[in-house]
Each structure stands twice: as structure tokens, then as C-alpha cells.
């Protein structure tokens, strides 16, 4: 702790300049008042983006809420019937809704932690400048830049009955009989889908952490080394506080992304067998586009949104409290 208080003032400015992680809004630089800035200028900068955002995202959001209270008729001039909270009541009484929700939760739990831990570990291993660094960076990032559609089919192929995974686990490592019908069972199919999620996401979190690690003040690391701290202590006392905003960003984005999983499930199992691997969004999609029950679909989407929103708020609270009481 003493290390931090002595080095802080020296390096804080440098760290802030070099930091490539988004600064939390709270910490923004105070601007001097009364500059000769036309009052309209900020709004002119905002206008093009915000108007587009309002029309194509905010308004449809409101409309989705609205639709969730109706038996919404999308065809022709048929009048939509107001149902009040019936769609929500239906969801909470619907076993398949709960199954889909739990699958979404399982996916979130099984993908977020590995992506953070492995991504950070790789970033720490890779960060030192060396001739191999750019190569490893590209290799680990390759899955991130590849389309979800492509990698979904790729994993469907790898986890097929005669696929590479069965060969590797069966013939090669002799862990299984090599005849697992991965996509025919709820849990093994979820494992395949989660494996894809982790494999595809590690490079992303690695890259964010790599950028954040650049902002770790080296003077503090050196000072801590001279104080005789070991690697783990330096990681805890210097690195973690310095990359805290990045950790918050990655965690929040991954949790949101976890609940938004759709394309991989839709393309790998289609929710099957018998809907056992449905996540909230595939179930919503099916209700809306196969059953043409747009009201019910919207209600499911709204529940998911509220859930994700609440989780994000909780996470930001938790992270901010730790940050406020912590070293930085």
C-alpha cells in the first residue's frame, strides 16, 4: 500500500494519458467553465447520431414494450387486442420459458468466467514485447474476427457424431468411447455451444486486457519489486487496480453477450432436441416468427432486457464499491 501512495502522484498523469481503456464517466476531466463555446455546438455534434439512435433503437424499444401488452397482429389491418400483463403471466407459468431462461443462465455462467480468466492469463503471458508477440496475438484473436455463422457451422461439424471432438476424446485420448451424440442431449449440446462461446471470446477479452495492461504504471511495478513483493502481490496491488475499469467493461459486456446468445444456438441445435437447448432468444424468435405470437415474443424479450439491465447495474455497483475502497 505504501508503494501506491508514494508512486501515485508521479505516475497518475502518465497512466491516465497512456490508458487506452475507456475511463468511467465518473472520472472525467473537469472542464473550465465559461469558455467561448456556442451553446449549440455540443448538440450539433450529437444530433446526427442521436437522432438515428432515437429513431432506430429507442423508439423500437418503446414499441417492443408496447407490443408485449397486446396480442399483436402483424398482418394487414387486423386489430391488436390489449391483454395487459397476460403475456407476462403466460411466461411465468410456462415451463419452457423457465427451461430457456436456465439455459441462458447456464451459458452465461459457463462462458463468462473462463473468458475473463483465460483471456487475462494470456494477456499477461503475451504482453511482453517479443518477436513472437504479434503472432500469438493474431492467432488468439482469429476466432473473434470470424463470423458467428461460420464458426457455428464449424463447431456443429466438430461436435458431430463422426467429428473431430469424438475422435480426439475417444480414439486419441481414450477419455470417452468416441461415440458421444453431443448435439442430441441437452447438457452435452450446451457444452458444445459454451465451448464455442469461450473459444470465440477469449481473444476479445485478451485484447481488451492487453490494452489495459499498457496503462499499468511501470514505476509502480518497479517500486513494488524493490520493496520485495512477489509476482502475485504485484499483480494484486498494482496490476488489478490499474486494469479495474477494463475488468468492469469486460465483465459487463460478457454478461450482456452471454444472455444475448442466439445465432450459435439457432444454427448448431436450432434449440433442439425438442427445444431442450432453447435459450431465451431462440424461444422468443420461435414464438414470434414460427407461432406468429409477437406479443408473447416481445414479453420474453422485455423480461430478458430487464434482467440484463438489472445485472449490469448490480455489477457496476459492485465494481465501483470495490474501486472506491481500493488502492486507486
Amino acid at each position: 500500500m505504501s508503494v501506491l501512495s508514494t508512486g501515485e502522484s508521479l505516475s497518475a498523469g502518465v497512466a491516465e494519458v497512456l490508458s487506452v481503456t475507456p475511463a468511467p464517466p465518473k472520472k472525467r476531466r473537469r472542464r473550465s467553465k465559461g469558455r467561448a463555446v456556442l451553446a449549440a455546438t455540443p448538440y450539433l455534434f450529437l444530433a446526427p447520431g442521436f437522432i438515428l439512435f432515437a429513431v432506430t433503437v429507442l423508439y423500437p424499444t418503446v414499441q417492443a414494450f408496447q407490443m408485449s401488452f397486446f396480442d399483436w397482429k402483424i398482418v394487414g389491418s387486423a386489430a391488436s387486442e390489449f391483454l395487459g400483463l397476460d403475456n407476462y403471466a403466460k411466461a411465468f407459468a410456462d415451463d419452457h420459458f423457465w427451461l430457456a431462461l436456465s439455459n441462458s443462465g447456464v451459458y452465461m455462467v459457463l462462458t463468462v468466467a473462463p473468458q475473463i480468466i483465460i483471456g487475462l492469463a494470456i494477456a499477461l503471458l503475451i504482453q511482453k514485447k517479443s518477436p513472437t508477440q504479434p503472432l500469438f496475438r493474431v492467432l488468439f484473436y482469429l476466432p473473434v474476427v470470424t463470423s458467428w455463422v461460420v464458426v457455428s457451422f464449424l463447431f456443429k461439424f466438430l461436435f458431430s457424431d463422426d467429428g473431430l471432438i469424438n475422435f480426439a476424446l475417444g480414439d486419441l485420448l481414450q477419455i470417452t468411447n468416441g461415440d458421444t451424440a453431443w448435439l442430441a442431449d441437452r447438457w452435452t449440446a450446451l457444452i458444445a455451444i459454451c465451448a464455442l462461446g469461450v473459444w470465440k471470446g477469449i481473444g476479445w477479452s485478451m485484447m481488451i486486457f492487453l490494452a489495459a495492461l499498457q496503462g499499468v504504471p511501470q514505476t509502480l511495478v518497479e517500486a513494488a519489486t524493490m520493496d520485495g513483493t512477489n509476482r502475485w502481490q504485484r499483480f494484486k496491488v498494482v496490476t488489478v487496480p490499474a486494469i479495474w475499469p477494463a475488468l468492469l467493461f469486460v465483465t459487463v459486456m460478457l454478461v450482456i453477450g452471454g444472455f444475448n446468445v442466439f445465432v450459435s444456438v439457432y444454427l448448431i441445435t436450432g434449440g433442439g432436441p425438442a427445444g431442450r437447448t432453447d435459450v431465451l432468444l431462440t424461444y422468443m424468435y420461435e414464438q414470434a416468427f414460427n407461432n406468429l405470437d409477437f406479443g408473447y415474443g416481445s414479453a420474453i424479450a422485455v423480461i430478458l432486457t430487464v434482467l440484463v439491465f438489472a445485472l449490469s447495474v448490480v455489477q457496476m455497483r459492485v465494481f465501483r464499491d470495490r474501486n472506491g475502497g481500493g488502492a486507486l
Binding site: E16, V17, L18, S19, V20, T21, P22, A23, P25, P42, Y43, F45, L46, P48, G49, L52, T56, V57, L58, Y59, P60, T61, A64, M67, I74, I122, I126, T132, R137, L139, F140, Y141, L142, P143, V145, T146, S147, W148, V149, V150, F157, L158, S160, D162, L164, F167, D171, W199, M207, A211, Q214, M253, N260, L267, Y285, A288, S298, A301, L304, T305
Partner: protein
Amino acid sequence: MRTRRFAAGNAVRILVLSVGAIIMIIPFIYMLSTSFKEQTYVFTNPPQFIPDPATTANYEQAIESSDFVRYFMNSLIVAVISTALSLLVSSMMAYAFARFRFRFKETLFRVLLLGLMIPAIMLIIPQFILAKNLHLLDSLVGLIVFYVAGSLALNTFLLRGFFESIPAELDQAMQVDGANAWLRYWKLALPLAKPGLATATIFTFLACWDEFTIALTLTNSPENRTLPIAIQLFAGQGNNAVQWGLVFAASMIAIVPVIIVFLVFQRYFVQGLTSGAVKG
């Protein structure tokens, strides 16, 4: 003594990273190899990593059997234009949030961040109706509008952080020289935020190139089809057995542009932000 320990630690580091990297790229190598296999050689035991016999028939079939070149160009046009527009518009917003004081600033920013939390698919139905009313259905322009809109929140959030880390003194110096807000944004903030813009470019291009659900819902005629939709149709063809070679040949072609974009921009990616400006 110390150097030898250092070298050993370094070797372990490289070894761990190599094993990880191999696990990461095996699926790609296997996909590449499968794209050169005849259908009967796709599932063999043991699996072939070097196709024997190798054939380019899948690639020929992918390109010839349908309007593949057109789908490719559609994806490219949509992704490039969407990325350029999104970066312009969201960097302007980010600049306003980073550099000005105005009423409702944090409120507006929070409203924008809501965009990150709203599941894109939740908006599919209302966006479909909106596109219909604005006559944007089944057109590439329609896709561009929704892709730009969908990427604004994340890009603004990212770029605001970059702009805020540019020293205010640089802004003040330019202001003293009589530069207006637009000039300071264009000549100072944008060039200094290059790593941020590169990051946003990669994210946005990928998101647009990759986008599946909106394209599936908003377009339906073959001339407006994008690559992800085309690949899905390839996989759906064939009666029961998926023609994996064909699917992966199309996939390999689809991967090329993203790898180019990534390789071009990645050197900015992790680079220190305003170190040049601080020195100068």
C-alpha cells in the same frame, strides 16, 4: 544464473502460449482442409488434416452455383459504408461527451448506453415495421441504416474514453490559436484517437460483416443477400447430409476480408495512445 532462470521462464511462457494457440487454430486448419475434400472423405477415421485426394471442386461449386460474388460484394459494401458512417457519427458524439459541458449530458450518455443492454433481437419486430414504413425493407441501404444505428452505443462509449485521455492542454492551445470545435475534433482529437478508431473499425466491420439476424429478417430477395445468409443457405441445401466441403469453402472465402482488415488495423490496436503527442 539470473539470465538462465529468465530464459527458462521465457521458454515455459512460449510453450504454454504455443499449446494454447494450437488449440485455438486447429478448428480453422480442419475447416480449411475439409474445404478441399470430396464429400466422401469428409468423415474419415482417423481424420485427414491433409486432404487426400485434394480437390478445389467445393470452391468452384460455391462460386459458380449461385450468385456468390454478388453476396460477397453486398457484404463488403454494407460493411465498409456502415463502418465509415458509424465511426464518423459516433466519434462526433463521443467528442461532444468528452469535451463539452451541456445540459442533460450524463443523462443522454446513459440513454445511449442503454443501447448496449437492449438485446438486438428484441428490436427485430419493431425494426421490421419501421423499415417497412420507411421503405427500407429488402435493400442494402436499410441494412446500413440499422447496422450504423446498432453500433453507435459501443463506439461512442469506446471513443469517449479515448478522447478524454487526450490532454486538455492540447485543446486549449488550439483554441488560443482560434480553432473552432469542428477543427479541434477533426485535426486534433481524431488523429490522436487513432488506436481507438482502429479498435472501433475492427469491431464495427466485423459486426456488420458477421450480422445474421437483421439481414435474415429485413432482406429476402437474392440480389440483396449477404454472405452469412448465403452460407446458411449452403448448409441448408442438400437433402439430409450437409455438404461440409461446400459450406467451408464458402466460409473460407468469407473469412478473407476480416483477416485483411484485422491485419491492417491490429498494429494500432494495443499501441499506446497519445505518447506521440506528449513527447511532441
